[in-house]
């Protein structure tokens, strides 16, 4: 059953829309949202958390419109959906100890005796792999990984059903990143949690998410089973993203030389960066449509799938890097 969903959500700051008509559904298990800076992914996360209201469209909690929830419905939503932000040092009040931060989460919805609170804090800290002594520390007295674990413990304190993870590991060292991802994977399995994982790192969604959506300039350009997106990406942007990820011992990442072009104001927003752009892309914005088990917003999706541009995609940039190929 769908726990939380965005249906045709458009989000705007003032007159500028940053997210256009995005639909996304989360249930138990992991869903990935892939996007780079400026793609609108964080704004979308804020809308799903009920922190900003959509300009149009609906965020649904279960079957109910989030914006129309009453007091008790809202409290229920707050208990069910919790965020984990990028940086534990931002997400924890710098003046509060870890114990106080977690206790705040415990006591917001329930009264608890002092002893019960202490036990719960200890249990939660143990659950995220921290010693009870951490409870007395303030954020600046902890390492980045410890802060993120405390932030996760705080989110778990209300026994949520869904976590919205906004770049939960990108501020951390690689080995710490790997441990936090393992932790999230384990917790999700143990507590039967659903989660939305927002990231720019394709390797991370590959491991944790069954389905994923790729966001470009506030629009979902491709969505479907994560494995499919990573092994057989169709949208040229998904391909560019995948090709840009450096691989251990692999070839140097491919480039287009047009990476920094701004999204096009009309037609397909990706066309100024797209190696496959044709006249139609300038005249007509592609709508997402069903193509081989996924949704793609690209006029040339079928051609890509039938193998046409394997050589003419972003690989063109290879010459620029002066790298010998194969």
């Amino acid at each position: 059953m769908t726990l939380l969903a965005a249906e045709g959500v458009t989000l705007a700051y003032g007159a500028t829309a940053v997210v256009h008509d995005v639909s996304l559904a989360m249930d138990e298990g992991g869903v990935g949202l892939i996007g780079e800076s400026g793609s609108g992914k964080t704004t979308l996360a804020r809308a799903l958390l009920g922190l900003v209201r959509p300009r149009s469209g609906v965020v649904r909690y279960g079957s109910r419109d989030l914006a129309a929830l009453g007091r008790s419905g809202r409290a229920e939503f707050r208990r069910a959906v919790q965020p984990v932000f990028q940086d534990g040092s931002e997400a924890l009040d710098p003046r509060m100890t870890a114990g106080a931060s977690i206790t705040e989460a415990l006591t917001t919805h329930h009264r608890m005796s002092r002893a019960a609170r202490r036990d719960r804090v200890e249990a939660l800290l143990a659950d995220v792999g921290l010693a009870p002594a951490i409870a007395a520390r303030r954020p600046h007295e902890m390492s980045g990984g410890q802060r993120q674990r405390v932030a996760i413990a705080r989110a778990l304190a209300v026994e949520p059903r869904l976590l919205v993870l906004d770049e939960p590991t990108s501020a951390l060292d690689v080995t710490v990143q790997a441990r936090i991802l393992e932790l999230l994977e384990r917790l999700a399995a143990e507590h039967g949690l659903g989660y939305l994982l927002i990231t720019h790192n394709l390797g991370v969604v590959g491991r944790l998410c069954r389905t994923s959506s790729v966001l470009f300039a506030g629009r979902v350009v491709e969505s479907g089973p994560t494995g499919e997106l990573l092994t057989r990406p169709v949208h040229p942007y998904t391909r560019a993203l995948r090709d840009a990820v450096p691989r251990l011992g692999g070839e140097p990442p491919a480039t287009t030389g047009r990476t920094e072009a701004a999204p096009a104001p009309s037609g397909c927003p990706f066309r100024l960066r797209c190696p496959l752009a044709v006249d139609r892309c300038r005249d007509e914005a592609p709508l997402p449509r069903e193509v081989e088990g996924r949704k793609v917003a690209c006029h040339r999706a079928e051609e890509v799938l039938s193998g046409l541009p394997a050589s003419s995609t972003s690989r063109a940039g290879g010459e620029a890097s002066g790298a010998p190929r194969q």
Partner: protein, 258 residues
């Protein structure tokens, strides 16, 4: 011949050794990467190479070109940093004067080195092209360019001044992957075509493996493993290196390439 040579470098704060590197050489046309996590001493080592470590005791011998860094006068050090060696930091935009067009910035830097007029303009355009930017960018202000463009401009600035050495501290970790790929392409090209010596600090092993010729793995201020990139990544000897490698999120191979 090595353009950067470090021998018996020890950086101490009080009794605590924060970086200790017995031997490190970077030759022309070579990229050496210092990898490790925060607190490993990799950035300290890079900064020490340019005499930029403050509030700590630095001992050993460091040469950049023909200059003995630890014995050099402050004026000499400034000269090295200005023209011989380019320091590329995580967020280049912060280092660019926001009130000046990029072209003006570059012209002033060149004028300080005696290059003026048409020669300076030509040098600026050539350097900008070398980092795969459109010379049109010289007319823009720092806030009008993206992070990746600013990063490449910072490299171009050093090139125009005749830098033979590039020291880069996490040059792409603030950038999107697609932009990171472009910056890496530029660095590779400069190394191959211009024979620049590069010292790269990064915690991203996958990234390092696509550009570095040799790798030095650091942990808690000490070197735990060093060798050619192929050896270190292909046959890591130290358990910590293996842990770092295992932590890199793997991407499934794409279908077409199989």
């Amino acid at each position: 011949m090595s353009l950067i040579s470090v021998r018996d470098l020890v950086v101490r704060i009080g009794d605590r050794v924060i970086a200790s590197v017995p031997e490190l050489d970077v030759a022309a046309g070579e990229c050496v990467a210092l990898v490790g996590e925060s607190g490993s001493g990799k950035t300290t080592t890079l900064l020490a190479t340019l005499g930029l470590v403050r509030g700590a005791d630095v001992s050993g011998k460091i040469t950049v070109g023909d200059v003995d860094v630890l014995a050099a006068s402050p004026a000499r050090l400034r000269e090295i940093r200005g023209s011989r060696a380019a320091l590329v930091m995580q967020s280049p935009q912060a280092a660019l004067n926001p009130t000046m067009r990029l072209g003006t910035l570059m012209r002033r830097a060149l004028a300080r080195h005696g290059v003026k007029g048409a020669a300076a303009r030509e040098r600026a355009r050539e350097a900008v092209r070398a980092v795969l930017l459109d010379p049109e960018i010289l007319r823009r202000y720092p806030h009008q360019v993206s992070g990746g463009q600013a990063q490449r401009f910072a490299i171009a600035l050093a090139l125009a001044l005749g830098a033979q050495v590039v020291l880069a501290d996490e040059p792409t970790s603030a950038l999107d992957v697609t932009v990171q790929a472009e910056v890496v392409a530029v660095l590779r090209r400069l190394r191959d075509e211009r024979g620049l010596a590069m010292l790269l600090v990064s915690h991203d092993l996958a990234l390092v493996s696509t550009i570095a010729d040799r790798v030095v793995v650091m942990r808690d201020g000490a070197v735990v493993e060093s060798g050619s990139a192929a050896d270190v990544f292909g046959r890591p000897r130290d358990p910590y290196t293996r842990e770092l490698i295992a932590a890199v999120p793997a991407l499934p191979e794409s279908a077409e390439e199989r």
